[in-house]
């Protein structure tokens, strides 16, 4: 039997995986010796679409594949038995070895067909649940405590502790919520897990339900993830057919049902109290805690809420023991963490690493370094609540405490790499614009303070900055941090504070010299033509506003009054005859 697998998660599909799948389907039609399957994201988004061919146990990973290459692979490898070396990414008769990665959360994504529960069961799936049901709830919680697992949604609160609180709240109705809102721009870990291994999340929720004494759960998933929602619905249906969800699960006294709730596009709804308000059908606005959800949550009932990745760890921990998890990581940050690598990096995609690995290894050894041979400038972690880590701190360990010390956070797992062409003031402005838009408006400082900060940043980027601006930004930042009710406002100034801390010179260049060193802020840059110009007229042709004049073979000129600084000429010129300053 020859197995062909195509990765058809959102990223694969966007890169054309469906066409590749259809091609293989067409070619293998009526061939009973070939099984064609779909699988989730293997994490190597930069070489999507990806296909795997397994002939008598020997697996070959191919990418990027298109219809033509699919045909070639089919003829030469599947039919002819000769792998098409040119497109092979990796081959093994075992599990793939991912350089410096350790896969717990992603143990099944890209390996199993997420739409087949049997694939999950064949890889120890629901074994954690079975083991949990044979124990007392308190014993289950102890294992989670011992594993050292901390919440992967951003705050890093010890999961076992949270469960303990919810367990000790006395009430005949309790809820479990899975936070799949994944609102951080630049992050897609949760989407990939839900699309590639939905049962692992459901299993975690079930174990949690048993441990805290709940019999109903909700997955709150953002509506921008239609494929994740579809896979969840299918997975729940299949689990019900196997008596893994429903009444008297696996013959025990434990009953549990899971519903899906689609989020409707508000970042603040990722905050737990806002999320619960949203599930209840209200506007998603955070409320003061305490009472914590463990005491009074959804419809005022005790509720335990965890992130997708947190739940995906739980089944593994229960199945393999606390030690299988806590043997990895640092003293206070145990286990592994999934990161979404994006931005100016060569190998963008999903990686899972042991906690404590130096940032440099993630970016260079796994991520393959910076695109186009450019110079690394910073890595943004933790999205709008996080910060930018500069080059001299690249040896920082990836764990909760070490990252916090830099002013950034582990956050949910987005890592956006910035190179020399990124302007740090512009990045800070970008995040302020985001939080300002997403502030629910309840707290004055979060609502108005972020707006004032944004205005100042806009002014600086427009070349109208004044010397007092930096002090004003710091002052506003401190006030917003201290007087906001939820973490959205409390952390909103972080992108500004970290860029000020590590890249103050860029702010000063904008304010004093009226220059944008990275050449991003259009008000502060000018395009001019230098003496290298040979009058080839390329730039003249691409200029959308006819700002460039000059006849063939004569040095051209840019009319600064007409130029809209779009940079088209700069990109078009093949001999560096255009300066951007």
């Amino acid at each position: 039997m020859i197995r062909i697998k195509v990765g058809t998660a959102t990223c694969g599909n966007a890169a054309g995986a469906q066409k590749v799948f259809d091609k293989f389907k067409e070619l293998s039609l009526n061939d009973k010796d070939i099984s064609l399957e779909e699988t989730g994201c293997i994490g190597m988004c930069y070489v999507e679409p990806i296909a795997e061919v397994a002939v008598s146990g020997e697996k070959y990973l191919y990418g990027p594949v298109d219809e033509k290459i699919a045909e070639l692979i089919f003829q030469d490898h599947v039919k002819g038995g000769k792998p098409v070396e040119k497109y092979v990414l990796s081959n093994t008769s075992n599990e793939y070895k991912f350089n410096k990665q350790r896969r717990i959360v992603l143990r099944n994504t890209g390996v199993i067909d997420p739409e087949k529960i049997d694939d999950y069961l064949a890889r120890d799936g629901y074994n954690g649940l079975k083991k949990a049901l044979a124990k007392k709830p308190e014993e289950v919680i102890q294992i989670v405590l011992d594993s050292g697992l901390r919440g992967r949604g951003g705050a890093g609160f010890p999961t076992g502790m949270k469960w303990k609180f919810a367990n000790s709240s006395k009430n005949d109705k309790k809820y479990v919520i899975c936070n799949a809102d994944e609102g951080d721009p630049g992050a897609f870990m949760d989407r990939s897990v839900l699309e590639g291994d939905p049962h692992s999340v459901l299993e975690g929720m079930l174990i949690c339900g048993y441990a805290i004494g709940a019999n109903e759960g909700y997955v709150y998933c953002r509506a921008e993830y239609p494929l994740a929602i579809k896979r969840l619905i299918d997975a729940i249906k299949q689990a019900k057919e196997r008596n893994l969800i429903g009444d008297n699960i696996l013959g025990s006294n434990f009953s549990f049902d899971i519903h899906i709730k689609e989020g409707a596009g508000a970042f603040v709804c990722g905050e737990e109290t806002a999320l619960m308000a949203s599930v209840e059908g209200k506007r998603g606005m955070p409320r003061l805690r305490p009472p914590f959800p463990a005491v009074s949550g959804l419809w005022t009932k005790p509720t335990n809420i965890n992130n997708v990745e947190t739940f995906a760890c739980v089944g593994y921990i229960l199945s393999n023991g606390a030690e299988s998890f806590n043997k990895y990581g640092t003293e206070k940050s145990k286990g592994t963490k999934v990161f979404a690598l994006a931005g100016k990096i060569n190998n963008g995609g999903l990686v899972e690493v042991e906690m404590g690995i130096p940032l440099r290894e993630v970016i260079y050894d796994i991520g393959g370094g910076i695109k186009d041979g450019k110079k690394f400038k910073a890595v943004q972690m933790g999205g709008p609540s996080g910060g930018c880590i500069p080059e001299h701190l690249l040896d920082t360990k990836v764990d909760y405490e070490s990252l916090m010390a830099t002013g950034a956070i582990v956050g949910s797992g987005g890592m956006v790499v910035l190179d020399e062409d990124s302007c740090m003031v512009d990045v800070a402005r970008y995040f302020l614009n985001f939080t300002q838009n997403e502030s629910c408006g309840k707290c004055a400082f979060c609502r108005i303070g972020t707006k004032r900060m944004l205005e100042i940043l806009n002014k600086i980027c427009d070349g109208k900055g004044e010397e007092s601006d930096i002090a004003d930004l710091m002052d506003l930042a401190a006030k917003i941090k201290n007087s906001s009710l939820c973490a959205l406002g409390q952390t909103a100034p972080n992108p500004v504070l970290t860029t000020l801390k590590y890249f103050e010179d860029e702010y000063v260049a904008h304010i004093k010299d009226k220059k944008c060193p990275a050449g991003v802020c259009t008000a502060l840059i000018n395009f001019t033509i230098n003496d290298k110009c040979i009058g080839c007229q390329l730039c003249k042709k691409v200029c959308p506003v006819a700002a460039i004049s000059g006849s063939a073979k004569v040095k051209h000129q840019i009319d600064q009054d007409v130029c809209i600084k779009c940079g088209a000429c700069y990109k078009a010129c093949k001999i560096s005859a255009i300066d951007k300053k």
Binding site: A187, A223, P226, G281, K282
Partner: protein, 161 residues
């Protein structure tokens, strides 16, 4: 005539919710939006009455979440990502160029009702940025040239065919 039809369709959608709870509001609105493409006053009123909340509350709810359209959108909805990864790969300039090409601003629909230009704070395909979704189809690593030719294709298909 049109109104009666709308009303019937809404009735049909609401049938699914036998004992309507407040928490059904979001799903019912979404169902209606999937049917009509947007939510107008009549639809909002009808749904809110059925669920048992005031029309003002339903409006407040729908306007809070960016997912609900309160105006009739274009036939093709362009959603351009301006998340972090896309931003640093030049999403802002891309959006500016598309705005110019279409002659509308972000959030607006072309006068012929063909294309609505929206942005998103992240479409979850960050490793392949910049990202654009047209209706249900995702395009990755786009640039203004690609997007302009997509627009040209759509225009040609709808005006010549």
């Amino acid at each position: 005539m049109e109104e009666i039809k709308t009303s019937n369709i809404v009735d049909n959608i609401l049938k699914k919710y036998e004992n309507p709870k407040k928490s059904d509001l979001s799903k019912a609105l979404l169902d209606a939006q999937n049917e009509f493409g947007y939510l107008n006053e009549d639809i909002l009123k009808k749904i809110s009455a059925y669920i048992g909340v005031s029309a003002t509350e339903a409006y407040g709810f729908a306007s809070f979440y960016s997912m609900y359209n309160l105006e009739k959108p274009g036939k093709y909805i362009f959603k351009i990502c301006k998340g972090t990864a896309c931003h640093i790969k030049g999403a802002k300039r891309l959006i500016n160029e598309i705005e110019q090409y279409l002659g509308i601003k972000e959030g607006e629909t072309t006068p012929d009702g063909l294309i609505k230009l929206e942005t998103s704070s992240c479409l979850g395909v960050c490793a392949l940025s910049p990202v654009l979704i047209i209706n249900d189809k995702t395009y990755v690593r786009v640039n203004s040239k690609i997007v302009k030719s997509l627009i040209d294709e759509i225009r040609a298909e709808n005006f010549n065919g």
